[in-house]
């Protein structure tokens, strides 16, 4: 585990040693701040961060692939992957370290947005219900895990960061098309089955303040499955 943490620490630090990390955080905070000011701080409206969480979820679809695209692609491109692959660590430890480093970056990116909740609490009377806010942050964290683990698989499959980014983004978009749009055009039985795999429906439940264990299991199990797939993809590289 300490090896995975060492890899995570390096990965986390490396995102701040290159301009892209700072640019991603600055853009993210600017946009979420703008959405907060223009949609959550309106006089007379109920005190809620629902619109901010909705926008943040959409932004994660773009930001998470940008963070995860370099996890392995960069190492494969520069040859540092050989250092890792010849070290006494398993492919799954490498994947765990990379994922944790990227997740830590995502958490650091989300932390400053807590100020929105504080401002809303100070500016509103009555104070906002903390349940939906906590559930909203939990949904961002869980959805972030899913996006990053998907990005980890894509990055382990190619040495091109562009391909890794586009692969992750397209999968997330197609996921919505298949589980949210397609059910309207197919039989009700099939539509229900497809909708059961939707991440947007579950995020919407969280935004309403409902913390459903099934939703937590959904996000965590898919993320874990994707991380195992990323480890398998690295192992496969040794045989190709």
């Amino acid at each position: 585990m300490s090896t995975a943490l060492a890899i995570a620490k390096r990965e986390f630090g490396s995102l701040f040693r290159v301009p892209v990390g700072w640019i991603v955080i600055a853009l993210f905070l600017f946009l979420t701040g703008a959405v907060f000011v223009t949609s959550a701080l309106l006089p007379g409206d109920p005190a809620t961060l629902r619109s901010v969480f909705g926008t943040t979820t959409f932004m994660l679809v773009l930001v998470a692939p940008a963070v995860s695209m370099r996890l392995f692609s960069e190492e494969l491109r520069t040859g540092t992957y050989e250092l890792l692959a010849s070290s006494p660590v398993s492919s799954f430890q490498i994947v765990a370290g990379k994922f944790l480093g990227a997740l830590a970056f995502l958490v650091v990116m989300l932390l400053p947005t807590l100020i929105h909740a504080l401002v809303l609490r100070m500016a509103s009377s009555p104070a906002p219900d903390p349940g939906p806010i906590l559930a909203g942050y939990l949904s961002l964290l869980l959805f972030g895990c899913l996006c990053l683990s998907l990005g980890t698989v894509a990055s382990a499959l190619t040495d091109s960061q562009t391909l890794a980014f586009l692969g992750t983004l397209l999968t997330l978009v197609c996921w919505v098309l298949i589980t949210n749009t397609a059910p309207k055009f197919v039989s009700p039985e099939l539509g229900a089955k497809l909708a059961a795999a939707s991440y947007l429906i579950r995020i919407d439940d969280f935004a309403r303040g409902a913390i459903d264990t099934r939703h937590i299991v959904f996000f965590l199990s898919i993320s874990a499955g994707l991380l195992v797939a990323a480890g398998a993809a690295l192992e496969h590289k040794r045989w190709r």
């Binding site: 090896t3 040693r17 540092t80 050989e82 006494p88």
Partner: protein, 314 residues
């Protein structure tokens, strides 16, 4: 210390490594020599667990590298070709990170990093970013990172690739120092590199071991079929005399100072012709001051071995 047997690796339909096998005892410095594309790097990648062989066995320091890859990777330090590192990290930060990944115990990390930095003379650049260093220093940083867990086996892939002549000399001296108490396998396609650094040479071509021995042994095995004499007289006369006495031989003469000539005789067979040439020159009353068999250099051996292999393949 390193035992590999009957290694095979295919990339699609390309059979890149075809039954490579050798053993390296503890303390030996061995050069893996071969032209580009011979299978050297693929062999080293299999040895270090980066890729797996599709057939064959590998043991490093007694550990089966295929059955227990993680354990086997603790037993060696590896310097990949092009000495990769993270340019945005400082030298000390990179070595600290690598010591964690290599599983160096927390208590001895500091001392191991200091030892590796001292061995590779990195003290003056410890705080600098790797991306700001010269190629020679970056090579040293990568080498230091391979020494952090104090491995008894060092595997170096093209350690002088891309260095200037001064840096090559420094790298060679550094490798010589490191080889004092370690088993070292160095891969290179640069002959003088191997000749000066290694006590044993393994020549690889077309994915196979073509020759294996000390540089002297290889040169001796490939010597013969000629001699060199230094004679006094007239070059043309010497040449004619020898050509008449030994039909089918190739004789070349080069003038030296004071009326002496360097005469090189090449026969069509592999036998040493020194005795007959000496007798012939003596009976023709040609004065001789030196007579010795032609000794092949490692370069001649390399070319000859590869040519023979190419001929056999054809």
């Amino acid at each position: 210390m390193i035992e590999i047997a009957d290694l095979h690796r295919w990339f699609g339909s390309v059979h890149a490594v075809r039954g490579v096998g050798f053993e390296i005892p503890a303390g030996q410095v061995v050069g893996l020599l071969g032209p580009n594309g011979a299978g050297k790097t693929t062999t080293l990648r299999m040895l270090t667990g980066i890729i797996r062989p599709q057939k064959g066995s590998i043991r490093i320091a007694g550990v089966d590298a295929i059955a227990e890859p993680t354990k086997s990777r603790r037993g060696f330090g590896y310097l990949p070709e092009s000495a990769p590192s993270y340019p945005e990290m400082s030298v000390s930060g990179f070595l600290r990170y690598r010591s964690q990944v290599l599983g160096v115990p927390r208590g001895s990390r500091k001392s191991q990093i200091a030892k590796a930095m001292e061995e590779c003379q990195l003290g003056s650049v410890a705080k600098r970013r790797i991306g700001q260093l010269s190629k020679g220093y970056r090579q040293r940083v990568a080498l230091a990172s391979a020494l952090l867990h104090d491995p008894k086996v060092l595997i170096l892939d093209e350690p002088t690739n891309g260095l200037d002549p001064t840096q090559i000399r420094e790298a060679r001296s550094l490798i010589g120092d490191l080889a004092q108490d370690r088993t070292v396998l160095v891969s290179s396609h640069i002959l003088p590199e191997i000749e000066r650094t290694c006590e044993r040479v393994i020549i690889i071509g077309a994915g196979k071991v073509l020759a294996d021995g000390t540089p002297d042994e290889l040169c001796r095995q490939n010597t013969g079929g000629g001699c060199i004499a230094e004679c006094k007289g007239h070059g043309a006369k010497i040449s004619t005399t020898l050509a008449e006495l030994f039909p089918g031989t190739e004789v070349s003469t080069t003038p030296l100072e004071g009326g002496w000539w360097r005469v090189e005789v090449r026969t069509s067979d592999a036998n040493d012709p020194c005795e007959q040439v000496g007798a012939a020159l003596g009976s023709a009353r040609i004065q001789i001051r030196q007579l010795r068999p032609t000794v092949a250099g490692l370069e001649d051996v390399f070319v000859r071995v590869l040519d023979e292999s190419a001929g056999a393949e054809a």
